[in-house]
Amino acid sequence: MIYLSYVISLIAVYGVLTISLNLSVGYTGILSLAQAAFMGIGAYSAAILLTQWGFNFFTTLLVGMAVAGLVSWGLAWATLRLKGDYYVIASFGFQVILYNIFLNWIGLTRGPFGIRQIPPPEIFGFSFLGPQRYALFTLGILALCLWVARRVGESPYGKVLRAIREDEAAAASIGKNVNRYKMSIFTVTAMLASVGGALYASLITYIDPFTFTIHESIFILALVIIGGSGNVYGSVIGAAVLISLPEMLRFFDVPTAVASPIREILYGALMIIFLRLRPKGLLPERITSGVVR
């Protein structure tokens, strides 16, 4: 039961990270490789403020969101004018920079030593200590995140995002300020990613820079694509499948030294299989037509 709760929490955390990336990738067509960097901002904000400053978890969430929001806004301002492939490379560059900051700013992040004993969230004296409580907590945040993403997707704002995804020039030709839309949704993505990062830090209770690498960014991107680009429920399903399948290895008598590479191979194989058989993902995007008679 404890183990199951842990896996559910992990799925919920990755669900949040995947949904938030889907807003940029799926809704708007901004292919970003910087998701782990924003996750890291959230995780480090929570870890530092909780362990060293004694902040409340929810305050750290807000601080993490604010920092991620500001940083992403700056990044978007500098790079979102770049088109397609060029932007992907720029976001990769940003990911590398942030990873190196996490690794080398030892005074702030303790670098490779990591930060230990990150406490669980507490609200009005009620602590979400213990796997079951924490699972409920993360599921609650996941539900909230889903609600926000759906609201965005179904709104007039979301409709414009999809138009931008289809043809940026055409969207500009009917008066839409494409850069402003891209900057705003990218900022929302980064802020929600920081929430995912804070949840992650609190779940694992230990973070170090090696979690927030390009590898992680690509993994989250894979969850978006396998789950179904543009479908936020797909993001949850994608996270559930890709987190739980390799976990099942634990039930077989496989030595740890072998289990780890097998897990990696399994991820790779799953991605290839899904993209081959279901290129639009497990739950493809459903575009509703807004005809009103």
């Binding site: 007039p156 289809e166 009917i174 839409k176 009103v292």
Partner: protein, 255 residues
């Protein structure tokens, strides 16, 4: 005869791509309420000129003045809010969205469509949307697209897609409409329909600047014709004058 410069004019506009001069020192004007056509052989610089006017390309030199405002530093979306909008030769429709959505998206809606619009109270949102829905219905009806409102654009014929692109253009409520090759790929019957549609728009107060290859159609519906060749204007005038111009006939028609 003096022509009215106050609505739209281009002065000494130039644009080069590397060593290639796509548009060289071009000046012309468009009178309010007229239908002006730009013609010229392939590569004459027509689409580049459109891109310059609509803000998609920065000019190297020259001025574009619309209703007294210099458009030099304006972004494409700002130009739309000033009342000028364009179509594309490749249409650039949102093909995965429905006909309805394509037209509806063209309607102005800055506040409603912003991120903050998510926080607007539902009744206010609904009230705004009802007015926009009414307008969408009108446009679809005007273009004869009502029956196809729910279809995804990707499933439509080329002719219908062209109509959707005009619908989206009309939705912007621009008074100055730039049409890039509206007749290309259409059947004779569809071209006739397009001609009356465009004249109808002019009679409803719109001003149109269009680029097209179809000489016959252009001469039939235009009030004024401008001929481009190698990025320069070689002639302009009323259709009858252009048809009588020997240089135009030689260069453009290859006779």
């Amino acid at each position: 005869m003096d022509r009215d410069k106050s609505f739209f004019r281009v002065d000494g506009l130039s644009k080069a791509f590397g060593g290639l001069l796509a548009v060289g020192d071009v000046s012309f004007l468009v009178e309010k309420g007229s239908l002006t056509s730009l013609i010229g052989p392939n590569g004459a610089g027509k689409t580049t000129l459109f891109d310059l006017i609509s803000g998609f390309l920065p000019a190297d030199e020259g001025r574009i003045v619309f209703k007294g405002r210099d458009l030099a530093q304006q972004k494409p979306h700002d130009i739309v809010s000033l009342g000028m909008a364009r179509t594309f030769q490749h249409l650039g429709l949102f093909t995965q969205l429905s006909v309805w959505d394509n037209v509806f998206l063209g309607l102005p809606g800055k506040r409603r469509e912003s991120l903050w619009g998510l926080f607007l109270p539902r009744p206010i949102l609904r009230r705004e949307e009802r007015a926009l829905e009414e307008r969408t219905r009108e446009i679809l009806d005007y273009l004869g697209l009502t029956e196809k409102a729910g279809e995804r654009v990707v499933n439509l014929s080329w002719g219908d897609q062209k109509l959707v692109s005009i619908g989206r253009l009309l939705a912007t409520d621009g008074e100055f409409l730039l049409l890039d090759e509206p007749a290309s790929g259409l059947s004779d019957e569809q071209i006739e329909h397009l001609k009356s549609l465009l004249r109808g728009l002019v009679s409803r107060g719109k001003t149109i600047l269009l680029v097209d290859h179809n000489m016959e159609a252009v001469m039939d519906i235009s009030d004024w014709v401008i001929v481009l060749n190698f990025g320069k204007i070689i002639a302009e005038g009323k259709p009858a004058e252009i048809l009588a111009n020997e240089e135009v006939v030689r260069i453009y028609l290859g006779v």
